[in-house]
């Protein structure tokens, strides 16, 4: 026996169906794929032993995302004492440029890097994972009012991020 716990029912189906979406959320949170993979694996490993309970509550993805966000916040808390502003930002690409996709991603990550960790987490949960304010508040262990405040401040910062307004109003197809 290799010491691995037995696989819970439905876990494989969930991973196969949702890992891409979780990884994309992880990428938005961390800014790179290796860290995103690490984050998703950490969350799924934490969810594994509690899988039966989570599925009974009929919201396993919500809890996996909750673990992801809190793990991300813990990592950031341990590693960062403050936000470091971007030194240089990528220039905006022309629409339809052959290299526009990658530049759009760079602009997006640069913009997200301007956000404190909790604002970034709210952006990912609310606007990428499509969670409600109440769900986001529960996932982050804060009030709905705090979620609204984080979202408002995040939007204000993103509004000023170079290139992001253009991406939001048109931009480049993925």
């Amino acid at each position: 026996m290799d010491g691995r716990p037995s696989e819970p029912d439905g876990f494989r189906d969930f991973v196969e169906a949702r890992s891409n979406s979780l990884l994309r959320s992880g990428w938005l949170l961390t800014g790179d794929w290796p860290s995103a993979e690490d984050l998703v694996q950490t969350a799924l490993a934490a969810a594994w032993p509690r899988w039966a309970t989570l599925t009974r509550q009929d919201a396993p993805e919500f809890y996996v995302r909750k673990i992801m966000v809190n793990t991300f916040l813990r990592w950031r808390q341990r590693r960062w004492t403050g936000e470091i502003a971007t030194a240089r930002l990528p220039e905006l690409q022309a629409y339809g440029d052959a290299f526009a996709q990658i530049d759009a991603r760079q602009a997006l990550l640069a913009a997200l890097d301007r956000l404190p960790a909790r604002q970034r987490a709210v952006v990912v949960l609310r606007y990428f994972a499509d969670q409600t304010e109440a769900q986001t508040a529960e996932a982050m262990g804060c009030s709905v009012g705090a979620v609204k405040a984080h979202a408002s401040k995040a939007l204000a910062r993103l509004r000023d991020a170079p290139g992001l307004a253009e991406l939001m109003t048109g931009g480049v197809a993925s």
């Binding site: 691995r4 994309r24 290796p34 950490t42 952006v123 990912v124």
Partner: protein, 458 residues
């Protein structure tokens, strides 16, 4: 949601890329099994593994966080990569150095600019070399490694710093310039050295039996430091005059040509230096601040990368501008230029999305993307060695036709515990092929030898 929020949500879904690979149940099971075995002493919390490379200008102490000294395997998300080199990358330095000795003095009628000779190097503390760092390693097969990968060295070196020449490998380890045996992988000599471009050092450049490195590179100060290729004893310094200010984001600013001269990006000019006389024999004015420089293999052209992004070719003998091309809207960064008979190669983009491009005949209007995705950037700065362009990273290791940009053979780089290993900075020296290797999951790194398939023969 209001309109702005809907636009943000739509943009996030549209721009966020698909992951290069998914997470599997096996990944999780393996992780759980590993954590069960190591949980007790650590309290069960697993820190994220270190990023090999932070996005430039996005996070981390600076865009140059990669490969900084002394980070070792500490799981610091902020710290960039300590990559751990190995092999040697030829790239510009290896491929272009060494054919001829430079002329003993200025030979083309161009006035020599002010240059000074002194020692010791400015940014290096005590220059007394050590004849050996004492480290030896038995060869070890890389588990599941492609192309017969075998570790011959397990030292930590700075990413993208390895070159080969004079029967040796040279690289930066934290706080040192090292000379390594390409046969045994053993450290042969080292001398204290700290790059002035923290975390993103220019590779050492060899001319004759001298190893040249950047000693100072900031503002209006560019100083080169030379070391004896055998003993690493100081061979003096060269102060290079700068036109204006040097680039704030230098990516490959020191190289050599087949004429034996050193070529240095020196603000709005390329300085051509005779390393024997320590004289700056020519300054080629460039429109814009040069962030990267490369010399064509035959020495007929020197390329300057400027801005975001323009590539201009000059005649190194006369300084005449031969042509220029640009790519618009490509982002702010471009560099790590490598010139081959077919054109010019370089990197573009930031962080893990950095990618490698090829411009046939140095014409950016015909630029093609050679690699993309994670690990396709600095982690896999193209190297031109053994008649082949090599591009590695954490996804794929490929040998590429230096004339056409077409991949000839590519191999998937294995993963360990779901984490991609790293093979990069390939160089061919003495009939052997070397790569930098890193396995973050196993906390293993070093110089690996490879046996590429026949299809990689240039």
């Amino acid at each position: 949601m209001n309109t702005e929020e809907r636009q943000l949500a739509e943009m996030l879904h549209r721009v966020t890329p698909e992951p290069p690979r998914g997470v599997t149940v096996e990944d999780i099971a393996f992780r759980l099994a590993n954590e069960a075995g190591s949980r007790a002493p650590r309290g069960g919390h697993r820190e994220p593994r270190p990023r090999r490379r932070p996005a430039r200008g996005s996070r981390g102490p600076s865009r140059r966080g990669r490969g900084g000294a002394g980070r070792g395997w500490a799981p610091v998300l902020a710290a960039a990569s300590v990559v751990v080199v190995a092999g040697a990358s030829a790239g510009i330095a290896t491929a272009l150095s060494s054919h001829h000795s430079p002329a003993g003095s200025s030979q083309d009628g161009m006035p020599t600019s002010s240059a000074s000779v002194s020692s010791p190097p400015a940014s290096t503390t005590p220059t007394s070399p050590s004849t050996s760092n004492g480290a030896t390693w038995p060869p070890e097969q890389v588990a599941d490694g492609m192309w017969g990968a075998e570790l011959i060295n397990r030292q930590t070196f700075t990413q993208a710093s390895l070159v080969a020449g004079n029967g040796s490998l040279y690289a930066f380890s934290p706080g040192f310039l090292d000379r390594i045996s390409p046969v045994t992988g053993n450290g042969l000599a080292h001398v204290p050295y700290n790059s002035p471009i923290a975390g993103f050092p220019n590779r050492p450049v060899l001319t004759g039996n001298t190893v040249w490195v950047l000693s100072s590179y900031a503002g209006s100060s560019v100083v080169l430091a030379g070391y004896n290729g055998s003993t690493l004893a100081s061979a003096g310094t060269i102060s290079v005059p700068v036109s204006g200010q040097v680039a704030s984001a230098p990516e490959g600013v020191l190289t050599s040509g087949s004429d034996g001269y050193l070529y240095v990006a020196a603000g709005s000019a390329i300085a051509v230096v005779n390393p024997q006389t320590r004289q700056v024999i020519r300054q080629i004015p460039v429109s814009g601040t040069v962030s990267s420089v490369a010399v064509a293999p035959g020495g007929s052209k020197v390329y300057a990368g400027t801005g975001a992004f323009q590539l201009t070719a000059y005649d190194p003998a006369t300084g005449a501008r031969l042509g220029s091309s640009a790519v618009s809207g490509i982002g702010s960064f471009g560099g790590n230029l490598v010139a081959t008979p077919g054109g010019v190669w370089g990197t573009m983009g930031i962080g893990m999305s950095e990618w490698v491009w090829f411009a046939p005949n140095g014409n950016l209007s015909r630029v093609v993307r050679v690699s993309q995705g994670p690990g396709a950037g600095l982690d896999s700065v193209p190297s031109y060695s053994g008649g082949v362009v090599w591009i590695g990273g954490s996804q794929e290791l490929a040998c590429v036709n230096p004339a056409t940009g077409q991949k000839m053979v590519a191999a998937v780089i294995p993963t360990d515990n779901g984490i991609g290993e790293y093979f990069g900075n390939i160089t061919v020296a003495g009939g052997r092929t070397y790569a930098l290797f890193q396995n973050q999951a196993a906390q293993q790194s070093g110089v690996a030898t490879l046996t590429p398939p026949g299809g990689c023969s240039g």
